[in-house]
Amino acid sequence: MRSFRRSRARRAEERFPDAPLDGPLLDVNEIRTYFKTERGLVRAVDGVSLTLERGKTLGVVGESGSGKSVLSRSIMGLLPSNVERRGSIRFEGREIGSADTETMRQYWGTQMSMVFQDPMTSLNPVMRVGNQITESLKYHLDVSSDYADETALALLTSVGIPEAERRMREYPHQLSGGMRQRVMIAIALACGPKLLFADEPTTALDVTVQAQILELLQAQQRERFMAVVLVTHDLGVVAGRADDTAVMYAGQIVEHARTRELFTHTSHPYTEALLKSIPKLAQPSHTRLEAISGRPPDLVNPPAGCKFAARCPYAQPRCLESEPPLDDTARPGHAFRCFFPVGTDAGRDALERNLTAGVTASGMRVGREGGQIATGSAVGV
């Protein structure tokens, strides 16, 4: 048994000889993830390309159903069986886009790992916290129980859990939500992954704890020189933390740039709408929140043109006919899918035309209300 485990550990080393340190850690090219359902194929991720360097953070932002969670699970290969995944995923230069579960298992935990949204359900309720951490340590790194226990203790302390020694022996229900998420992070970091997917790590948490968890993630990332894909619906989470940000809508990336560039030169109307929907302290009280009216499109029969046209105050007839490509010729390094980008003359003209007509090309009502643009049902209230 012992020798068998040793040989397994050796095999793992052979599989991952020191990878080239140049080149991106993760290179995803035109990945498509379709769910086979009774209604037809649901195009949850529809042609997403991105690259991620070692130690960097990529923020993936979008509302519910935009495909951001499915994207991270697609890259990791953690998908249910009724799924069709196409496209190329290169991790450290190795193609894993078509790898089977058996191959991917070599990557899970040691090369890439994931922190899930809800710490209430992502810990096993009947297993002691310490065991949940040592489990994968013992399995992947082939270390003794004592060593694994010490490592788990050190991990728990490093993720900021007080009295870690006592917590090790406790069950998840004895911990608060923030504590549990810290434990989840400790589990995900246990085997030293090079890439961490944080799938809405703070969504289920108390606001007061959210910042702490994000800071913890950032500190651990810096310490370990680990790349992070930070999936969130909150642009505020990404601001100041992610190096690059990709905004997703209907399974596609609609805008992708350095985070600072994205915030200062927002180009896609969807990104603009997301930004506007964040309440700001500087606004006078009782300012109406600018929600995005309407709902994301049906991913079984997506509209022909721009996916966002139905909810876009800038929408022109052209938007309904053809789909704008993801293009960064206008501003190098800043890609977006829009014919009438925000902040350009074309965009301003398009909006002005729609405001004058009171309706966009897709038939959504649009008008001015106070200093704001009001859309959909909000118009004329």
């Binding site: 070599q106 309720p125 246990a190 702490q212």
Partner: protein
């Protein structure tokens, strides 16, 4: 910076958790009423303990308990030193009941253990992998369930462990052990689909939980996830059904005894005692009533404990 008390939004709704202050005395955890074992539960435990201890100890201590001068057909309930009386062969009823408890418990436990191992593993596999494996296994369970358990048991015992007349005309008496094993096997087959379905249903539910996905994301293999992550969560449901199953198997063995295919002499079970005492119901009713009371109390205790176990480990009722 570190949260010193559970944040209100995520605090469990049930009993207030102890505040994580180092020297604070550990707050006493009060279980909700529905989760306590209660007087009934303790009575059940005590009764089962008595049965278990007597089944093991009494036949070892009392080797020869023949009542001198016992004559068939005479009530010998009040014989000093034999408070429960004796049967028509002059055996002390206490010893007979203890022997009966041995067989009955063996049959019940054995059948359920077979069901737990085979049914449990198959149910776990079906519920975890789903898809075609699940369809195939579920149909298998349904086929097993469709076979009438009594007919199956009678058929198996008759075919595999029945007294017969050999080729040379000499009666061949089957060994009591062989009969016991075949009985356990026959009732075990009946227990398999029941436990398998319970395990499958619970596995379906637990395998969807995020911590299973989290374990996968840590590189755990399917077998490991099934055994370490899913099984401990499914176990309480399996156990509560298994306790009921023991009771059901004991009653079924009693029924088979009355049909003449229960345990074989020199083994006796409560069922075979009832069956043996039945002709003397009018003159010596205690021959029937004593094993019936034993069986009744044991079945009641097992059923009650099954409920207690279910309530105690039910996550919904534990308000976590």
């Amino acid at each position: 910076m570190l949260e010193q008390s559970p944040s209100p939004a995520v605090a469990p709704a049930g009993p207030p958790p102890a505040t994580p202050v180092a020297d604070a005395p550990k707050e006493k955890f009060v279980r909700p009423r529905s989760q306590r074992i209660g007087i009934g539960g303790w009575l059940a435990v005590v009764w089962l303990a008595i049965v278990l201890v007597s089944a093991v100890v009494i036949p070892m201590v009392i080797k020869d308990a023949a009542i001198p001068g016992a004559v068939s057909g005479q009530g010998i309930l009040k014989v000093s030193g034999h408070p429960l009386g004796g049967d028509n062969a002059g055996n002390d009823m206490i010893l007979q009941l203890a022997k009966g408890a041995r067989s009955s418990l063996l049959v019940g436990l054995g059948a359920v253990l077979i069901g737990l191992f085979i049914g449990g593993s198959l149910g776990l596999i079906a519920g975890y992998f789903r898809g075609r494996i699940d369809t195939a296994l579920s149909s298998f369970f349904n086929i097993l369930l469709a076979i009438p358990q009594f007919v199956l048991a009678v058929a198996l015992v008759s075919a595999l462990a029945n007294d017969s007349i050999g080729n040379n005309g000499i009666p061949v008496v089957v060994s009591a052990h062989r009969r016991l094993f075949v009985l356990i096997f026959a009732l075990g087959i009946v227990a398999i689909p029941i436990l398998a379905r319970i395990t499958r249903a619970n596995t379906l539910q637990w395998a969807q939980r995020e911590f299973v996905l989290a374990a996968r994301a840590q590189g755990a293999k399917n077998r490991r996830i099934m055994v370490r992550e899913v099984l401990p969560n499914v176990m309480p449901a399996m156990f509560s059904i298994a306790l009921l199953g023991i009771a059901v198997a004991m009653v079924a063995e009693g029924g088979l005894s009355i049909l003449g295919v229960g345990v074989h002499l020199p083994n006796v079970s409560w069922g075979s005692l009832i069956s043996a005492g039945y002709p003397f119901l009018s003159t010596q009713p205690y021959l029937v009533f004593e094993p019936i009371v034993c069986l009744f109390l044991t079945v009641l205790s097992l059923n009650y404990l099954g409920d207690v176990v279910r309530a105690r480990f039910d996550v919904r009722e534990s308000a976590l």
